[in-house]
């Protein structure tokens, strides 16, 4: 203990032989940075919502690429009985030496049919499948190259044409809020005036609370962060759900070339904060909270899935008494409280029956005599 104090007081004086006082673990962040740059990042983003709400356009605007070059849109007749499909596009993008393997999971057909009962089932099945695959890989023997295909974030597009959430929105979010981070967005926000945007946001926030939907919450700021950061964070939280506009085209506005939409009455700039919340969404999704989204997926959603899975497995094993399970049996660190109780009860019963048997034997013996 005393040595530490000595070292501290010495560093304040900034004397000779500074390398003796300086241990050097302050470079850990740099090492983390270097390693992560070498390893590269991956991120899986799911977009869900009815057709025609601008999902593809927004994804293109977010990542400044064109992921949907040749896609075929169905017409109304074909969509009457359409089922939901899951499509994946993976791209590798690089910026300043940092590589990102981005996977976009699209859900064409969601909400498009006339009868949309349980149209989210293929989506929940897909998410569960990814969890199951990761679970299997994690429990496997060779764990060096696990491919993480779990969905880290789901952007849900709410149409701006209504007065708030619709039944299909509520049911979708409730089916998925415990499996994936949901970020609701108000799409095509260029049909709402600023007052209407505010009204709709308040309405949607109220309804999300009322129906008990657990959307992704931004983590609280540490108390020792800068004031500016805290202010930004507060603004971000009050802005949800984000009202976004996307654009595939570049137009000329105020002497600059920007991404925007050209109307006879003006030009909507996608990156103009007073026009829409696109910049906030991009900053949040990519620049500040991407890793937090991954962490919440790993620590909360995946762990829930895993615990649920294991519980089911062990209760099944106790019933079937089979030893050939698809997964290797992991030794349970703590036996189930319930099964312990059951075992105790059975033991007692056995003891009682033994006693009775002895008594009867005795009686018979006496009788014989």
């Amino acid at each position: 203990m005393t040595t530490n104090i000595r070292y501290k007081s010495r560093s304040m004086k900034s004397e000779d032989s500074e390398d003796k006082q300086y241990v050097g673990f302050a470079t850990l962040p740099n090492q983390v940075h270097r390693k992560s740059v070498k390893k590269g990042f991956d991120f899986t983003l799911m977009v869900a919502g009815e057709s025609g709400l601008g999902k593809s356009t927004l994804v293109n605007s977010l990542f400044l690429t064109d992921l949907y070059k040749d896609r075929k849109l169905l017409n109304a007749e074909e969509r009457i009985n359409q089922t939901v499909e899951i499509t994946k596009h993976t791209v590798d993008i690089e910026e300043k030496g940092v590589k990102l393997k981005l996977t976009i999971v699209d859900t064409p057909g969601f909400g498009d049919a006339v009868n949309n009962n349980e149209c989210w089932r293929p989506i929940t099945d897909y998410i569960d499948q990814q969890f199951e695959q990761y679970f299997r890989d994690e429990s496997g023997l060779n764990r060096k190259n696990i491919l993480d295909n779990r969905v880290h974030c789901c952007l849900y597009f709410i149409p701006p044409f209504g007065h708030g959430l619709r039944p299909v929105d509520v049911e979708f979010m409730k089916a998925l809020h415990e499996k994936v981070n949901i970020i609701p967005l108000i799409s095509k926000a260029d049909c709402l005036t600023p007052t209407e945007v505010k009204k709709l946001k308040d309405r949607v926030r109220d309804e999300i609370e009322r129906f008990g939907i657990k959307v992704y919450q931004f983590p609280e700021c540490d108390s020792d962060e800068e004031e500016e950061f805290k202010q930004m964070d507060k603004e971000l939280k009050e802005c949800t759900p984000f009202a976004v506009i996307g654009s595939n085209t570049v137009v000329e506005a105020r002497g600059q070339r920007v991404r925007g939409r050209l109307y006879p009455w003006g030009i909507v700039e996608v990156e103009n904060q007073s026009h829409c919340d696109f910049v906030k969404l991009r900053n949040m999704l990519i620049r500040s909270h991407m890793h937090d989204l991954k962490d919440v997926t790993c620590d909360v959603h995946y762990e829930n899935y895993r615990a649920h899975c294991i519980q089911e497995m062990t209760s099944k094993l106790a019933q079937d008494n089979r030893t050939d399970s698809p997964l290797p049996i992991l030794p349970l660190p703590t036996p189930d409280v319930e099964t312990e109780k059951l075992i105790k009860m059975k033991d007692e019963e056995l003891k009682r029956m033994q006693e009775m048997l002895e008594k009867m034997q005795q009686q018979m013996h006496e009788k014989d005599q």
Partner: protein, 410 residues
């Protein structure tokens, strides 16, 4: 027929004026049906079209089904009275399963036709005073997705196109940019055509309006914007929507097709819409309904049927049917009675049998009991006799014993 030329002014050229003054004094009625999802802008467009504010609360998204809400208003402009009925579809497009969504709409339209048909067929009818509630125009609001029609739109319009005049409009069109709008309109029209949906075509047979109507036909579906607010442009207050990036003026033809819609719907073709409803859609309904009831225009010999004969024949048929039914029911009743009687008889017989049986068993038991009693009595008697015998023997023995003892002793 010969046509003659007049040698002077007679004055029957005032006939149209007489007609006009009569119809003005009668007043007009017009019924609009607005079909579209909740929040798409139906009420706002009505307010904008008629330049007034019809009272309307925001609808919720969580209705269980679709129901129609008709509201009638009395409007006046210059000296013309208009009875305007606006029918709203509440809850349309909100449910998860929308397979039944079109039914309430079709049922409502048919009900209005049915009411009119009833009035027509009445003995004492007053068509002059009848408030015509048949829907003259259905404005179908298409959501501005920019891609194509929704599946629900297609299904609904197919069910409605033979019952009502449909004008499809693109709602909230300030979210579709000009280039996208062209493609969107073309896609919608091609989808309607390829699926055989018949929308209302503005009439081109009257030369006065043929030109404007045919050019308007090419602009379908109209891309409209509505607004309840006014913004100051220049030195006038106009209906507009104020955005951070500009102001969308409702009545500016380069911004949207609202002016075209108003022209077509109200200023040019309102009367034609009413006539089409009566001449085409109502007639179709009437024909189907009457054919269902069994009326025909010509009978087997291709002679024109008279209504009276058909009516008498129908009546006879009906009465004959009634009699047959009565007979059937009577038969059934008689059969039932017979059945139940037979059953009851069976039961009675059974009961009798059982009674006899029981009586017999009872008697047998009595007899056997009697026997047993007699046996028992005999036994008792024998026992008594034996007892007496034994007792006397004993006493004899006792005395002899004594005697013996005595003898022994002595």
């Amino acid at each position: 027929m010969r046509s003659l030329s007049l040698s002077g002014h007679v004055g029957f050229d005032s006939l149209p004026d007489q007609l006009v003054s009569k119809s003005v004094s009668q007043g007009f009625s017009f019924n609009i049906l607005c079909v579209g999802e909740t929040g798409i802008g139906k009420s706002t467009l009505m307010n904008t079209l008629f330049n007034t504010t019809f009272e309307n609360e925001e609808a919720s998204h969580f209705h269980n089904g679709v129901h129609l809400r008709p509201r009638t208003y009395s409007l006046q402009e210059s000296n013309v009275d208009l009875q305007l009925t606006i029918v709203d579809t509440v809850g349309f497009g909100d449910q998860v399963n929308k397979e039944e969504s079109y039914k309430p709409i079709v049922d409502y339209i048919d009900a209005q036709f049915e009411n009119f048909l009833e009035e027509e067929l009445k003995i004492k009818r007053s068509l002059y005073n009848y408030h015509d509630s048949r829907i003259h125009i259905c404005l179908y609001f298409i959501a501005p997705s920019g891609h194509s029609l929704k599946s629900l739109d297609l299904v609904t319009m197919k069910k409605l196109d033979s019952k009502v005049n449909i004008i499809p409009i693109i709602a909230k069109a300030d979210t579709v940019s000009k280039s996208e709008l062209q493609k969107f309109k073309i896609k919608i029209m091609s989808e309607l055509v390829s699926n055989g949906v018949q929308i209302y075509q503005f009439p081109t047979d009257d030369e006065a309006v043929a030109e404007i109507n045919s050019s308007m036909n090419a602009h379908l579906p109209f891309a409209v914007i509505g607004s309840s607010e006014e913004v100051k442009i220049g030195n006038k207050m106009v209906r507009a929507r104020q955005y951070p990036w500009g102001v969308v003026q409702v009545e500016n033809e380069s911004h949207c097709d609202f002016v075209k819609l108003r022209e077509m719907l109200i200023r040019v073709n309102m009367l034609d819409l009413r006539e089409q409803t009566h001449a085409r859609h109502y007639e179709l309904y009437r024909r189907c309904k009457l054919e269902e009831m069994g009326f025909k225009d010509t009978d087997a010999d291709s002679e024109p049927f008279s209504l009276q004969e058909t009516y008498v024949a129908k009546r006879r048929e009906f009465i004959g049917e009634l009699q047959m039914k009565e007979e059937q029911m009577r038969q059934m009743f008689v059969n039932k009675v017979k059945e139940t009687e037979a059953e009851l008889k069976e039961k009675e017989r059974e009961l009798h049998e059982r009674f006899e049986m029981l009586k017999r068993t009872h008697q047998e038991e009595k007899r056997s009991l009697e026997e047993m009693r007699r046996d028992f009595e005999e036994e008792m008697n024998t026992f008594n006799r034996r007892k007496v015998a034994a007792e006397t023997l004993q006493s004899l023995q006792g005395s002899t014993g004594l005697k013996k003892d005595k003898e022994k002793k002595t």
